[in-house]
């Protein structure tokens, strides 16, 4: 390229850069992870653009796991980068983001219409730091057709599940049919994997900010998952399975029972699903003599403290967190509403019949420990679950390791 061409190009570029803000709308950038159906959120955002002149909203996607997203956001936010205006945050993160001063408060916002669990997750030291995007909990997905074929009911305990899975996989005789799929990879979901049978024994991990670790219950929880892998109910490489792997394999018809979040429903009923119309959803089983417990999920909308469009961003978040959008996302994306009333909505019931029973599950779901140092708590639990499932450490040693390391973090 000659010098004169380069110069003229630079001049043009410079002229454009100076000229464009004069005509431009306010452009807001929303961070949504790629696993959260950005295509469906896009439709909700299109509706917002249509009724809000002067505001354009762009989606930035990234990271298909909760930790990948958190790592990306940690980098952006600690650099005080103003490029993102609105952020989707896993339910465990508002506390950390608020402590770091990364989100703007919604002062005076009345949260009373939302489900109580989300009011709690989004309120830090009396301040509203984010607004609920959607509710979530883990459920047991099962193949209704296969259970009917073998005359089985959805299991109430993990032992029943194990027996049912064995009966079906042996009866079907397909080597690629897995009895149970759950998350054994060292991802955020593996924290819930550990907590499900731990909580089911009536134990708590943290109470009033103090560690209340029950060693025996932890050993039992880890042994339960390991036994699924050892007995061939789950596949051998379960330590490699992440949330969306469970969803894909279930959808391909290769799994009888699956532990997953609500989003898997819409996909399992989709056009490219091999199991459309054959899927049932139930509460997760309990340990023998324990309570049926599940992990509280859900995601929140926060406004970046470094956004240069605070007012516009907050207005957008109010819209995204409204009943209207909550209903839209329930129907089109199978995301559980954050408003109790919507669970009885007729249109939603038509799209996802099991939502009617899901309200009780979400209301009794247990939150993971709320602490600004949650990332460290999570890392300890998920890497240990992963190591136990891979057979690197025994459930006993795993429980001891979790206890020792959590003591250091929550001292």
């Amino acid at each position: 390229m000659t010098f004169s061409k380069l110069t003229s190009l630079l001049l043009c570029g410079g002229a454009l850069a100076f000229a464009s803000p004069v005509f431009a709308d306010t452009e807001l950038k929303v961070y949504i992870s790629s696993q959260h159906q950005p295509d469906v959120w896009r439709k909700a955002l299109d509706q917002y653009e249509a009724k809000t002149p002067g505001v354009k909203v762009a989606i930035e996607t990234g990271g298909n796991t909760s930790e990948a997203q958190a790592q990306y956001l940690n980098t952006v936010m600690s650099a005080k980068d103003s490029s993102l205006d609105v952020l989707i945050l896993d339910v465990i993160r508002p506390a950390q983001f608020a402590a770091a001063g990364w989100t703007s408060d919604f002062s005076g916002k009345d949260l009373s219409g939302y489900l109580p669990a989300y009011v709690e997750a989004n309120t830090v030291d009396g301040k509203v730091v984010a607004l609920p995007a959607f509710a979530d909990a883990q459920f047991l997905y099962y193949r209704k057709d296969l259970l009917d074929k073998y005359g089985l009911q959805p299991p109430k305990t993990w032992d029943e599940l194990k027996a049912a899975a064995k009966k079906i996989t042996e009866g079907e005789g397909r080597p690629d049919l897995q009895g149970l799929s759950f998350q054994g990879k060292a991802i955020e979901g593996a924290v819930c994997t550990f907590l499900l049978p731990y909580w089911s024994q009536g134990k708590a991990l943290v109470e009033n900010g103090k560690l209340t670790f029950d060693h025996d219950a932890a050993v039992k929880a880890l042994s339960l998952w390991k036994s699924f892998a050892d007995e061939g109910v789950a596949k051998k490489n379960i330590a490699e399975v992440a949330t969306d792997d469970t969803r894909k394999e279930f959808q391909a018809g290769n799994v009888v029972f699956a532990v997953n979040w609500s989003y898997a429903w819409a996909k399992s009923q989709g056009e490219d699903s091999a199991v459309s119309g054959k899927v049932g959803v139930a509460r997760l089983p309990s340990v023998e003599g324990g309570e049926q417990s599940t992990c509280l999920g859900g995601w929140e909308w926060g406004v970046s403290a470094y956004s240069e469009h605070q007012d516009e961003a907050k207005k957008l978040v109010e819209y995204l967190s409204s009943q209207e959008v909550s209903k839209f996302m329930a129907i089109n994306g199978a995301l559980l509403p954050t408003y109790a009333d919507l669970y009885k909505d007729a249109e939603i019931a038509k799209a996802a019949p099991w939502f009617a029973d899901a309200l009780q599950v979400v209301e009794t779901a247990k939150p993971r420990p709320v602490t600004p140092r949650y990332n460290e708590v999570s890392e300890v639990i998920r890497t240990t679950v992963n190591a136990v499932l891979a057979g690197v450490v025994t459930p006993e040693d795993g429980a001891t390791q979790i206890e020792a390391r959590l003591k250091r973090i929550l001292r």
Binding site: A100, A186, K236, E240, A390, V392
Partner: protein, 311 residues
């Protein structure tokens, strides 16, 4: 380049002074300083300052999740490190990766260089295929090999099964996961070794081999008596670069196993990343980074000594 060599260069120019040097009318030394200044300022800004800042931060309890201002804690972060089993495990993994992949890449790289130096009629396809692994970004290589070694969809297990062996769940056991990572690193880095060694090979005069042929020395003898000794300088340079990058291994294990199963394939660089980027514990992360910096400095010093004694 050292100061003296620059001074020599300017001496040579002095004999036919260009218009602009007369206009500047500077002596040798000020001119040299002036010419060195931009590079020095740049290095100070992007290397010296961050390193000093890192060392400074390592004496503070600075965690973005606490919401508290930084507090001076002296050597506490370093003391914490000594009781931290994950620090020891990741450091050991890093050392092990270095000890396995540096010699591994050297042997493979040497073999590749010798092959590329064979009298092919058209040399560019050979050279190009040598360049490709080197030109590929590390994280891409990690992702590609993660799929190669995937227990169900990977090509490695496919080949194993076709040959009548049983498939291996590579990332489910620390040993196999470690082996897969080391193989990938060796594949990725041996081409860099090969390129440097190839350059060295081409400086060896053909006449030496002809003389050896006349003296009746065999192929093997020629390799050990001529090729290898004359390649030593290139090999040392290649080793320095490779060892330093091996100590900083991050991308490939990060993409392939994420440090798993458990923390059994996690490296020191990954642990630093985890503490700073995920846990936002900048104080502890800085202390870990200072240790890694010290480790790299030690190794580099040893190598530099080796070269100097050679000279």
């Amino acid at each position: 380049m050292t100061t003296t060599s620059i001074l020599k260069a300017t001496d040579a120019q002095e004999q036919r002074p260009a218009a602009w040097t007369r206009w500047l009318d500077l002596g040798d030394r000020p001119l040299a300083l002036l010419l060195l200044a931009p590079a020095t300022v740049l290095l100070a800004l992007i290397i010296v300052y961050p390193v000093c800042r890192l060392a400074y931060t390592s004496f503070f309890n600075l965690s973005l999740t606490s919401g508290m201002p930084a507090e001076f804690v002296g050597l506490d972060n370093y003391r914490l490190m000594f009781d931290d089993p994950v620090f020891w495990e990741t450091t050991w993994n890093t050392v092990l990766i270095t000890l396995i992949t540096v010699p591994g890449a050297l042997v493979v790289g040497l073999a590749l260089a010798l092959m590329a130096n064979l009298p092919f009629r058209t040399q560019w396809p050979v050279r190009l295929s040598l360049l490709i692994p080197w030109a590929l970004p590390l994280s891409f290589a990690g992702l590609i090999f993660a799929w190669f070694f995937h227990s169900e969809y990977g090509i490695v297990n496919d080949v194993l099964i076709r040959l009548g062996f049983e498939g291996i769940i590579w990332f489910n056991s620390p040993g196999w996961a470690f082996a897969a990572i080391c193989l990938t690193i060796i594949w990725k880095t041996s081409s860099f070794m090969a390129l440097i060694i190839l350059a060295g090979l081409q400086t060896i005069p053909r006449s030496l081999y002809e003389a050896a042929d006349v003296d009746g020395a065999g192929r093997l003898r020629q390799f050990f008596e001529i090729t290898l000794p004359l390649l030593k300088p290139s090999i040392v340079v290649a080793l320095i670069f490779r060892t330093i990058t091996a100590l900083q291994t991050f991308d490939i294990p990060y993409m392939m196993t994420g440090g798993g199963p458990g923390t059994s394939t996690s490296t020191l660089a990954m642990y630093i990343h985890q503490n700073t980027v995920s846990f936002l514990d900048l104080g502890y992360g800085s202390a870990l980074a200072v240790v890694m910096f010290a480790l790299s400095m030690c190794v580099t010093t040893v190598y530099l000594r080796m070269i100097r004694t050679k000279e």
